[in-house]
Symmetry: C2
Subunit: 209 residues, 2 copies
DNA sequence: GTCTATATTAGGATAGAC
DNA sequence: GTCTATCCTAATATAGAC
């Protein structure tokens, strides 16, 4: 029984098309064309294009909230931090259509605004949690103001690295390299690690280039 | 003779509407409505909406290239650096419609792609120029790899701060606060200043909050 | 230069047969 | 569940009078 439900095929194909062409440039006709089904059929499964977007968003949201559910006073190792960043950028890349037209998408599908903001807040909180844990382990030293600024900067970068990266190859939007983003994230934190850790993380960061 | 040419009024109003509603959401009808002229009249002055966008882009480009024309081996004081960042964020804010739908706008008006990339490159180069000058003056210490990463991060932030900031108040897109962006930029450089300078710049940065 | 009226598409969405 | 045919609307753009 290898038959995949049409409904799911629509979601999969939409995601691919959204990511490579940009959500605003993908019409329902294009989606159905790509799937070799009729537009009517598509509308049998989803009552609007917005519904497809919302359902993809829900999947994104679920993945993110799961990933970002960092318990408050947990102890985070450098390996875990590393792994976390890796997963985060991978998830963002998988749903990059959201980020590449973020303001646009959020204004046209207003119901997503608060939900997206919640994810953002969780993201900042997760970064803060990690940094605080590293501080408790005396691997990091940072003042409260710097910590605020750093977490905001990490959030901004996690959000917009993929869009920024896309600017260099707008012709081929399939190409996506989350590694470079992780590298930048690590380098944002670098100055605040203790000297020995700093050296170690500098080396780690190179593996992402 | 206070009469402003219709052509210029179209450009002014378009810029305002683009900034507050997003370029994709602004129709030629809305522009002419706002100006209380007929759509036909608008098309007498510009043969397409894209032409309006391109002309606004040209103004943006001219301002930017002028601002970014930092001579190669110039000596930059901290005050000049500060002032430069200030002007930069002000210019970005004035044309924020470009940045808020960057990928979208650049894919729909392909001719702007290379021009925008040129501006980006100049931006990174300007940051590098400033940092190198500060290094020569022994106010900053930074390794070549860190410098690369920092300049890229500064460019990303200069580009996307306004869009990121907009996320918090998508309802009122008039509100724009370039100050906070400058603050973040200064904090990105902070770790690489010499200790005395660091203290001084930390204080300076507070004035931007 | 400016207007009114209208043409042209394209995209989202529905109706009804199979 | 799927198709074909069609509707509706909004947006870009043009024609021709004043």
């Amino acid at each position: 029984m290898t038959k995949v439900k049409t409904r799911d095929r629509i979601l999969d194909t939409s995601l691919v098309l959204f990511n490579s062409l940009g959500e605003p440039n993908v019409t329902t006709l294009l989606i159905s064309d790509e799937l070799e089904i009729s537009p009517g059929n598509l509308y049998y499964h989803f009552k609007s294009k917005g519904d497809i977007v919302e359902e993809l968003f829900s999947a994104f949201e679920a993945e993110m909230l799961d990933l970002l559910a960092v318990p408050d006073d947990v102890t985070v190792s450098l390996e875990q931090q590393d792994f976390f960043l890796h997963l985060l950028f991978e998830a963002v890349a998988r749903y990059r259509f959201l980020y590449q037209d973020l303001v646009n998408v959020l204004t046209r599908y207003e119901r997503l605004q608060t939900r997206f903001r919640r994810v953002l807040k969780k993201k900042t909180a997760a970064f803060r949690g990690i940094c605080e844990s590293l501080q408790r382990q005396e691997m990091m030293v940072i003042s409260p103001e710097e910590l605020d600024s750093l977490c905001e900067q990490l959030t901004l970068t996690a959000c917009y690295w993929s869009a920024y990266d896309t600017l260099s190859h707008l012709d081929d939007r399939e190409a996506v390299d989350p590694g470079r983003g992780v590298y930048q994230m690590l380098h944002l934190m670098l100055p605040y690690y203790m000297p020995e850790i700093q050296e170690r993380m500098r080396l780690t960061s190179l593996t992402y280039l």
